[in-house]
Subunit: 155 residues, 2 copies
DNA sequence: TACAAATTTAGAATTATTATTATTTAAAAA
DNA sequence: TTTTTAAATAATAATAATTCTAAATTTGTA
């Protein structure tokens, strides 16, 4: 944990116990938590922690490139603490998210008309599919899956 | 416009003047409007139109696969009325969105471990880059670009 | 230790979206 | 054409996620 502390001090990140708790929670985490997910966790250790602190810290981490934002959900922001670039696959039935560790950049040449307008920087792929649990359940469709579908974890 | 009317009746879509106005606005539209963008437009023709109608109609169109949702913005939903599958490129400075009409599917083979867990259905790529106007402006960074940056349209 | 700047908290405010309900209307039936 | 009825509309309230505010506290440094 010492490297963590050093590292963040270096980038001008003032370390408070709350922030440290958030960093601990995020370190090595391969889920895609929302601010609320994090807030609940931190509250176990710091019962007085506020949402503002969670949002502030997340924003600071995003600004510093230490955490990215996953654009999969139009309802709420999901954060991705895993540092290496990767893509995602989302179950269209239950919204479960998986990480896809493969670099497709070589295959992703942009058309000329786009290259005239944009200087490319990076790319991110959302794959959509049906997870094993939802394949088992079969073709039944629910109105709002992510809330209730058995067998699939919330994302 | 007649085909539009027939088409939507066929799929069990009750046609009201408000909906027709929304359909007219969306037809051939290559922008990525929010519900509010659409609401403002429709209000010019139907000053009493309500947000609920806009959302209801959009949801009905999304459910029927006539309109898709673009996952680029965690603040609000953006809709994409252009019917053919395509990808997007987003300017990381001003948030301008461009359409990328190229099918990369052949190159996007998923790793085996993912294929064990998910049956793939489709994919969508977000390219990120810097648009020509923002390249001109150069390295200056603003806190919230999309609101003010000159030369770049709002997305 | 003392200080300045940054951070925290609680709560209010804001914004996007969804839900509610009485009224109206489109489209099918008579 | 008129009647019927199921669905859609509009106004408004409700909800949920996120941001803002301001006073109190804390961090890292001098």
């Amino acid at each position: 944990m010492k490297e963590l502390i050093e590292k963040y001090r270096e980038i001008g990140f003032k370390l408070t116990p709350q922030r440290l708790a958030i960093l601990r929670f995020l370190k090595g985490n391969t889920s895609h938590p929302t601010a609320e997910n994090i807030y609940r966790q931190i509250k176990e250790v710091y019962p007085t922690v506020s949402f503002a602190t969670v949002y502030n810290t997340l924003q600071a981490l995003v600004d510093r490139g230490e955490v990215t934002e996953v654009t999969i959900d139009s309802q709420k922001r999901h954060f991705d603490p895993y540092p290496k670039p990767h893509h995602h696959i989302i179950c269209i039935e239950c919204n479960k998210i998986g990480d896809v560790f493969k670099d497709y950049s070589d295959a992703l040449k942009l058309p000329k008309n786009i290259l005239k307008e944009f200087k490319p920087v990076r790319n991110h792929i959302n794959f959509y599919g049906i997870c094993r649990e939802c394949q088992k359940i079969g073709g039944i469709k629910y109105g709002n899956m992510s809330k209730s579908r058995a067998g699939c974890r919330e994302f």
